[in-house]
Symmetry: C2
Subunit: 555 residues, 2 copies
């Protein structure tokens, strides 16, 4: 053996579902040449990230080691794998490789930042490969809920790794390539050092179901609907969109796509030849003239996103369309944990309009795009890796996946974001810990999760905000009274006097009592006034607000 | 018929799950004597109600008609039925009736406001009744996931109503009374004008399962656990707490209750004679000395509440207890929609500690406390009401419940919060619309949902907050430069200069250009400065912050 090594370093996705970003390295310790697999995003929520637009892995370590990066590979076009390419490209500067459909989507994201088409290079599928420093990388087709999802065959001087990307074992995915167990066995035959493997559905106890199973059920439902039919699913699930459209067509309905993402995905699939026989669609203008019993809308917003078509339709007119009593709305999707309230809000809005909503609680109108527990075991069996490295999952998923591997007598290693693993030896070992964090795209600015900016927003939301202004003259004497402004706080409390007045009174008294030592020191004034506001507010309204003190000196 | 009428008016719970509050009236229109059924709360979330402590129905209409209120009846001791008694009692001033266990809990809440024991009167169960103006009311036992849940038999001069409260049809609830179909049939025999009926589980297609079914499964699980066992459930589910404790006892484990609510509920159940044979519990001090394989903790926090025992244990030591590799944690509960992320966070924390978490995804360790679709149909069949009035549910549940009633040939009416229904005639009709809203307990102050206070908090959380201070001298000329403070915003943006400086520069220019007409008018200054801050920030950081402008004049 040389003193070179293979390293694996997850920066995002190994500790959460979303924001996938994995690094592989090969070379002398500290000098490994690097490749990056996926640059994905996660989505914010009010609880932890109010006001944030998008979340992705902190790539500071990659940027520091930018000169060592050979290339970026994107496994598939889901947002949690490709969504951050535009936001990260400039700081990484490495070429991006993806298969045609994925590349089409990635180019759209890079174009928003003004990068040209050729920042993304279109890769062909296995057995073609790409040389990237010491690595040779091939895109090995695997089925998933989006076309052209691929595992990566990563050859190093010390052996072969397989990174699955997201996948399911679907023999009939309808659009895109079927899982081919013989091909995977053949590729694995020379021996696989490590299988880095999707973990999201490890807790699902039954083998996954094929995309082909939902078609007949959806057809039955659509055929029996008396009025307008509207269906939503993930826009990127091109196979499902096609199934929905086919069901509509068979029932004699014209198909209309609503929502930018829906049209974008179908266009990309047609442009890249992934989708060849999609029913003819009508424009929203034309749709308006079609009798509702002859029309089917396929729309964005299956997760209850407030600005997407589903939510807008639930609130009223959208693009000239409006749902009515007796119409049918189908969620051909599952609700991602955390989105339940938004989805339920839409269902209740539709209920108020008399629209009948069908969701997947029956299990008939949706199948997952991820491998379940038994499917993972089957893939382990086909690939026969020396080590299983679970990726893409929360801690509980990674841990369960390691357990699954070990239960079949395989080595498994629980590697979370920031844990650099040396895969060279007989046993995986922790080589180093890297600071792994999160970056927020906030408006047009990238901020760090630990910068305190979002923490301050959460505090204002929980506690309200009091602004105190005080003016001191040239002799450091207060000029007039201190002044309070409230935001997000009640106007009166216990004493029934305006809270502003009660606060100002207490602040005036504080200033009146304050000596020169305080009045000449902004920090002391601020600290004293903050304390008074918090105590008085606690007494009046039972809350301690955030306080900003502005001291103005005329000197 | 007389010109008197029966009215039904939901103020909370008919349009959501939670904050139940229903009003019944009898008399001449506008002069009806009133009774109130339940005063419950709902829980806040960051999305819609950041910083709020508790939510309950706006009782303004009741307060206006306070002189007409005869009594308040509480069906059972769940927070969404009894939680607001303390917050509302003073403004209603009517006597509160409840059965012993419920009364015990209600008294605890009233004591927090300093009200004496006798504000709550203990009612006996049917056939005893309480006279309340034109009404005669009896507490008719029904099973639920808390002891002594009762339907109310409400007799009026124009016939009998039955208000179910929350319920399931459980022949073996283990603690509390079993559902007695013969008793319910007997009470219904004289004819029931309207059945006002729980709707929360109307979409569940199979008959509900009995509490007795979970015991054997829990026993098996606990018996096979090698180390410490910790279980959580709703503290008020006394039967489940007992089942858990019995399973621990049978496995030779000492039982320790953790969390104030858990101990409070068990105490109340023992004090009121509802619970007679609970295993002996040990204190946390004693528990610390017991080998972990001989110990079982039963803890609060099944919904992931951050301050409850489950969450605290997932983060580290709590009351001297700490979970370790190989321990078992059982969620004997379901996750209420909206709480998924908090529960998952706990599971992942435990995963990091090597604790094995078992939840109800197998369906073995929890049964619901509410009647499913077929159970509702069965109760309709037993009671044979003239009208079914669905209550306690979101709009979709109420609508589905009306459909269910109609599918069996019964009249049903979809009455949402604020809709006053006249139940006197052959067909229910809408008598009037009342402003139904939500009241927030915010710290120690009750505020209205529409007051704009919480809206301002949400805006600060989404957009950040800029405070601008400007001082004008006696001649209305700016004294020095305007001053900005940021909260919840990044320090730099597009130009890489500090955002504060960019804003102050633009504000200075604005003031420099401003004529007397602006400078003498605070509103114009504020409006102009707000516009500048928002535009400049949009340009620099891609966000439009909330802006507070403080104009100080020396004149």
């Amino acid at each position: 053996m040389s003193n070179e090594r293979i390293i694996y370093l997850p920066l995002g996705g190994a500790g959460e579902i979303g924001m996938n970003c994995y690094v592989y390295g090969y070379g002398k310790p500290g000098e490994e040449r690097l490749i990056v697999v996926d640059l994905g995003v996660a989505f914010p929520d009010m609880d932890t990230t109010p006001g944030v637009d998008i979340i992705f892995a902190d790539i500071a370590w990659l940027v520091e080691n930018r000169a060592r990066i050979e290339a970026v590979f994107i496994t598939h076009a889901h947002e949690d794998h490709v969504g951050a390419v535009g936001h990260c490209f400039e700081r990484l500067g490495a070429p991006i490789y993806a298969r045609a459909f994925t590349a089409n989507i990635a180019r759209g994201k890079l174009a928003e930042y003004g990068y040209s088409e050729d920042t993304v290079r279109t890769a062909s599928k296995w057995p073609e490969t790409i040389k990237a420093g010491p690595f040779t990388v091939g895109f090995l087709p695997i089925s998933h809920s989006i076309p052209e999802s691929s595992g990566l065959v990563i050859d190093t001087p010390q052996g072969r790794l397989i990174h699955t990307g997201d996948f399911k074992l679907d023999a009939q995915p309808l659009v895109g390539e079927a899982f081919d167990p013989d091909l995977w066995a053949e590729v694995s035959a020379p021996g696989v050092r490590a299988l880095i493997c999707d973990s999201t559905n490890v807790f699902s106890p039954n083998p996954g179901r094929s995309e082909v199973e939902v078609g007949p059920e959806i057809e039955k439902l659509v055929a029996s609907a008396p009025q307008l039919v509207v269906a939503t699913t993930f826009a990127s699930n091109v196979a499902r969109v096609k199934t929905l459209a086919d069901a509509g067509s068979k029932a004699g309905r014209s198909i209309c796509l609503l929502g930018r993402a829906m049209r974008r995905m179908i266009e990309a699939a047609i442009e890249t030849g992934v989708l060849t026989d999609f029913p003819r669609v009508v424009s929203t203008e034309d749709a308006a003239a079609i009798p509702r019993e002859n029309l089917m809308l396929i729309v964005t917003g299956s997760q209850g996103e407030r600005r997407a078509a589903s939510a807008q339709l639930s609130r009223g007119k959208y693009n000239g369309m409006e749902l009515k009593e007796g119409d049918l709305f189908l969620f051909s999707s599952k609700t991602i944990p955390g989105n339940e309230k938004d989805v339920i809000r839409i269902i209740n809005n539709f209920s108020e309009r008399g629209v009948d909503v069908v969701d997947d609680s029956s299990g008939k109108y949706h199948v997952s795009g991820h491998a379940n527990g038994p499917d993972l075991a089957r893939l382990h069996e086909i690939v026969q890796p020396q080590i299983v490295v679970p990726m893409h999952g929360e801690h509980r998923h990674l841990r369960e996946h390691v357990k699954l591997a070990k239960s079949k007598g395989r080595a498994g290693v629980l590697a979370v974001n920031g844990m650099m693993i040396d895969l060279s030896g007989n046993e995986p070992t922790v080589a180093q810990w890297i600071d792994a964090g999160r970056t927020y795209l906030d408006g047009s600015v990238q901020i760090g999760a630990m910068d305190g900016i979002v923490r301050d927003r959460i505090r204002m939301a929980l506690n309200g905000h009091v602004v105190v202004t005080v003016i001191l003259d040239e002799d450091d004497e207060p000029l007039g009274e201190p002044w309070c402004e409230l935001k997000g706080l009640p106007e009166t409390g216990r004493s029934h006097a305006p809270l502003v007045e009660v606060l100002e009174e207490d602040l005036s008294q504080f200033l009146g009592r304050a000596g020169d030592k305080t009045l000449t020191d902004d920090d002391k004034i601020e600290e004293g006034m903050r304390r008074i506001v918090r105590n008085t507010a606690q007494n009046e309204i039972g809350k301690k607000p955030e306080v900003t003190v502005v001291v103005s000196r005329l000197s």
